[in-house]
């Protein structure tokens, strides 16, 4: 029987701009099973990033519940949420969000520093992950010395390195040209098949959306039929 790694139940998220309330999500419910490769599709403002932020435990819902790997996250403290993110969730961002003062190797190593792991083991793990994304020759390069595709590969390696249950990718191809975007998604797909890591990515590019096993369409904060 498939295991649910994400359970979003009746989730609403409101944002306040002065006195105006903007409803980003409204009573949304979705489940994601372990090992799935899911695309969240929808136009700008449909709530894709908000949904990923809620699943990624970096924002709180206004109402409803979210469970990550059977842990209800709504009422957890900021420290517990940080621990949960560090252990179960990897992030890939549209603008790569690498730490500019660290090399490719050090960026990938960063999430491991919070784990009790000796230097040799860290090095082994980081090197393996960088090889996996095809960046073994660029480990000493800083982000500003890498191309967009290479930066996103470092970001994927960083997301993968701590063996998370889920990797969330918010528009991972938006800042890349089409063919690099396809390459990145194929890489994500390959990792998904090999390691069984669950991938949830958002996109509004119809040309790359079909790589996903399942597509969740959002419109105005609700599932679109």
């Amino acid at each position: 029987m498939p295991v649910k790694v994400v359970e979003v139940k009746e989730v609403t998220k409101d944002f306040y701009l002065g006195k105006t309330v903007i409803q980003a999500l409204w009573k949304l419910s979705i489940n994601v099973e372990d090992g799935e490769f899911i695309a969240i599709a929808g136009p700008s403002g449909s709530g894709k990033t908000t949904l990923l932020n809620l699943i990624g435990c970096i924002d709180n819902p206004t109402s409803g519940t979210i469970k990550i790997d059977d842990v209800q996250v709504n009422n957890l403290s900021s420290n517990r949420l940080a621990e949960l993110r560090a252990s179960k969730i990897g992030f890939i961002f549209q603008s790569f969000n690498l730490i500019p003062v660290l090399s490719g190797f050090e960026n990938v190593e960063y999430p491991l520093l919070k784990k009790r792991m000796n230097k040799d083991e860290r090095k082994k793990r980081v090197t393996a992950v960088l090889e996996n994304v095809g960046l073994e020759k660029f480990i000493e390069h800083r982000p500003d010395e890498l191309s967009g595709g290479q930066r996103q590969r470092v970001a994927i390696a960083r997301a993968l390195v701590s063996n998370p249950k889920i990797i969330l990718a918010d528009e991972p191809t938006a800042n890349l040209d089409h063919s690099t975007g396809i390459d990145i998604l194929n890489l994500m797909k390959k990792i998904n098949k090999l390691s069984g890591t669950t991938f949830i990515f958002s996109t509004h590019d119809p040309k790359i959306i079909n790589i996903a096993d399942r597509i969740i369409n959002l419109f105005d904060g609700q599932l679109s039929k």
Partner: protein, 405 residues
């Protein structure tokens, strides 16, 4: 890794870092230079009063320091030579020399002027005269009798010059009147204008002859080092008790009222200057850190998304402030020591201070305690000033920080 990130972030915006480092370096250097200058000024003044007048310790009969001004001849030391020989054997005592003070009238022709006199032993005065300068003539020397040296102000008041014959009129210790013809051998000045305006110096043997006594009022003790004062006073306590001597002592510090007030004034000034410098350091680091956090909002969101806890973000930014503080303070120490030596080599011509008759050449002492305190205060200022911006960074909402452009 945290330290590595902090160091690399510090040098990310080089121009801003250089400006901040300049502020910290300048602050730390100023603390060292100002502290060193004041220390040197006070040490010079302290040595001038020790080696021109007070000595390190003054020993007198019990009650002299309380009543001696009113009844100067009621508290005389009996058998001064025996006491001097006994005290001479104590460690760290370089020289012991007697003092016999009295007041009287000094006449030259038709002019008469009141004075305060110090009977001294010319042979034993060598170390005590190192801060006495002569405008004219020379100091008293061994074997001198019936000669005096006059303070500059006193000489001017009575119109005396070197070689002049003068008459000293005073009371003997029994209360009778006595007068003596003396010759002026020199006109001196010290760091104290007050002293130069009222005092003359006379060989103690001549003073004893004038006052008709074999006794003296006190002994001035010069030590090998000022730092040994406590050791010697402890020994003196034991020595007086052991030998059942009705004596007491005062240190130069007890007697130098003006010096103590001067120290208090300088210390207060130094505190005000220090506070101004800390504020400059705090504002400059605080501004740098606030700018850095403003520019790195999304990066802070990223590291928090990767699992960094709020206190870890706080620590990271405080560490950056501390790195800035450490680099700036170390540069400040280097610059401070360099400029202290350079300025001391050139010298700062200083005008006479209040109550001081001569100017002096100011220098800047490199005082290890001042250097250490300056370093740690700049470091502490750096940490304090980065705390609020770091706290703000640690309270950022992760999702909002990630959206920040």
């Amino acid at each position: 890794m945290c330290l590595k990130i902090a160091i690399r972030n510090v040098f990310r915006n080089k121009v801003r870092t250089i400006i901040t480092l300049l502020a910290i370096t300048f602050g730390c250097m100023s603390l060292i230079l100002i502290g060193g200058f004041i220390h040197d000024a006070l040490t010079t003044y302290r040595d001038s009063i020790i080696y021109s007048r007070l000595g390190h310790i003054q020993i007198a009969k019990k009650g002299f320091f309380k009543e001696g001004t009113i009844k100067p001849f009621d508290y005389m030391i009996d058998n001064p030579e025996e006491l001097r020989e006994a005290l001479d054997s104590l460690d760290h005592i370089e020289r012991i020399t007697p003092r016999l003070q009295f007041v009287g009238l000094l006449s030259k022709g038709e002019t008469t002027f009141p004075f305060l006199a110090e009977g001294i032993d010319p042979a034993g005065e060598k170390s005590l005269s190192s801060y006495i300068e002569f405008e004219k003539g020379e100091n008293l020397s061994k074997g001198d009798n019936y000669t005096i040296i006059l303070g500059k102000g006193l000489a001017r008041a009575i119109g005396a010059d070197v070689g002049d014959d003068m008459i000293i009129l005073t009371n003997t210790i029994e209360g009778g009147m006595n007068a003596l013809d003396v010759k002026v051998k020199g006109i001196f000045y010290t760091s104290s204008k007050e002293y130069d305006d009222h005092f003359l110096r006379i060989p103690v043997r001549t003073a004893q002859y004038l006052l008709q006594t074999e006794k003296v009022q006190k002994f001035i003790v010069i030590l090998d080092k000022t730092a040994n004062l406590k050791k010697v006073t402890n020994r003196l306590d034991d020595f007086f008790v052991k030998n059942n001597l009705p004596l007491e002592y005062k240190t130069w510090f007890d007697l130098a009222e003006f010096y103590n007030k001067l120290v208090a004034v300088y210390e207060r000034q130094l505190k005000v200057i220090n506070i101004i410098i800390y504020i400059i350091v705090i504002l400059s680091i605080s501004n740098t850190m606030s700018m850095a956090i403003f520019e790195r909002t999304r990066e802070i969101g990223t590291i928090m998304a990767l699992g960094a806890k709020r206190h870890e973000v706080l620590f990271l930014f405080i560490l950056e402030g501390a790195v800035l503080g450490a680099i700036g303070s170390l540069l400040g120490i280097g610059g401070g020591i360099f400029f202290a030596h350079l300025i001391s080599w050139i010298g700062i011509p200083m005008p006479p201070g209040p109550g001081i008759s001569v100017g002096w050449i100011g220098k800047i002492a490199v005082v290890p305690a001042v250097v250490c305190i300056s370093f740690f205060l700049c470091m502490i200022s750096a940490v304090i000033s980065s705390f609020y911006p770091a706290f703000k960074a640690s309270r950022l909402n992760v999702a909002e920080a990630l959206r920040y452009v």
